[in-house]
Symmetry: C2
């Protein structure tokens, strides 16, 4: 068990409700079960539907399709059709704006690594 | 619409699958609908059950109770009983280890603020 930190709190400088509200806004957009997973795959260079589905283990085509539509609505990716290929090639390209998710994804990945180390050391 | 970033990707330096796996590990623990909301409230100094339920709008007592148990199992909070009070007072105190979630919460809150500004400016 870790030590307790008592009542001295991390967020004493910020109003809890403000923090909660801002986090809610973020989770509303990227808090879905698959959303960040799809964004990581996109940001890692997977841009084709089948490639994305292969990369994101366990996602169904229906769910992936819905995620991609939502991400486009939120300006996190752009659907690009290349008419020079037959059959036409569709690519899902992360937008400049989607780079702003990098901090969230890095923080989660860092914590995931740390937590895994902690669990595997203690058990 | 933001500009496209083409195929130059944020995570080119990291293997996508590694990033995905670490993020999965993190989301497994803190990716639940309410988990981070509960942690923010705890880290902001809300330590009593009723106080937490008031702070986290919309959470049911049953769900909050389950979240608190899971967080204790993951060493993110400690349930402390004060036997000097009648009826005995139970407090949920964030552990030292839970401070490690601060980066994730800050990144989400920052992004939530940014995204809200973007939406309210564009629509």
């Amino acid at each position: 068990m870790g030590e307790l930190i008592g009542k001295k709190t991390t967020f004493s400088e910020l109003q809890c409700s403000k923090n909660l509200a801002a986090t809610e806004d973020a989770l509303y957009v990227v808090g879905g079960k698959w959303t960040l997973r799809v964004m990581i795959a996109l940001l890692s260079g997977h841009t084709r539907f089948n490639d994305l589905q292969r990369t994101i283990k366990g996602i169904s085509a229906r769910v992936l399709s819905g995620e991609l539509k939502d991400l486009e609505i939120n300006d996190l990716l752009k659907r690009v059709v290349d008419p020079n290929q037959k059959p036409v090639a569709v690519e899902y390209i992360p937008t400049e704006y989607s780079q702003s998710l990098k901090d969230i994804i890095s923080a989660l990945a860092d914590w995931g690594l740390k937590h895994k180390k902690k669990i595997t050391t203690h058990e």
